[in-house]
Symmetry: C2
Subunit: 162 residues, 2 copies
Amino acid sequence: MSGNATALKTQSRTSSPGAHTEAWEAISQAHAAVTGRLQEALTNAGLPPLAWYEVLVAIADAPEGRIKMGELAEALVISRGGLTKLIDRLVNAGLLERVFCETDRRVSYASLLPAGTELLAEMRPIVEFELELTFTSIVTERQAREISSTLGKVRGNACGNT
Amino acid sequence: MSGNATALKTQSRTSSPGAHTEAWEAISQAHAAVTGRLQEALTNAGLPPLAWYEVLVAIADAPEGRIKMGELAEALVISRGGLTKLIDRLVNAGLLERVFCETDRRVSYASLLPAGTELLAEMRPIVEFELELTFTSIVTERQAREISSTLGKVRGNACGNT
DNA sequence: GAAGATTGAATATTCAATCTTA
DNA sequence: TAAGATTGAATATTCAATCTTC
């Protein structure tokens, strides 16, 4: 970035944003728009919110079919306290159970109950259908793979250093 | 892994996710990770949350320097009621004012006060610096432009049809 | 003492109902 | 009657403090 750009930035937007800033805005807006759409589709289908789906997917995708509370909070990027209560709700709904670690009794895992697996199976097609509808004829498979690869690195970089 | 868990997992994801689904997961995770990082940077600098920044930017970027409440809610993808209260907070902080439309007295606009413009000027460099740190050496300018273009279309498609 | 998870108080967001103007 | 915005009740999330185990 040039020193000039910094000076110009004192006003609200005197220069056009850099390519990286524009990419971030595109990511942010696409995320918001698609999220809104998925939410709506789930609501219309009489299904629980997207946050529940994300919890179910994260657990189903985890090795051993269970995941530590701390890891899950990080994966969903929500606070630990927030996760505890979110999981409480899914447990109360009979979808999950907490499993306590044998070797370190401080840690607890979340694990799917059969009802959770069933619900996931109900929610997944809705989500995937909406995603196809949103991406197909807009994003080629090649582009999709490039996005996955590039944003995967971005994610790693964003999590990694301070 | 127990045979039971394998069976359950196989049921919940019978085929590997398509390229579009993977792209969506990458977008979602990159968004979450970068958002978390921007939040942290703003907090560490003693500045307001990212949501406030997004409001300020949306208003500053709008033509005439003001934006309808309804449009702003849609841009930020939050409920209308939620936006009313978010704007209340920024108004109470002396950053914004509401401007009522002359020709249609149902609509109200949000508009920056000088303090809002100043705060935006303080927040923007923090955000841009973090974005540079996160994207540079990971995403080339060419890739950044491709992401902007592709996700811009995704956003349009997600908002557009039902 | 430090790490992992949970709780309670404060804050933010949604949903449905309401108010005002077109 | 419908559109735009706001309010109140219910729900969700965060932050700081606490509890338990290492």
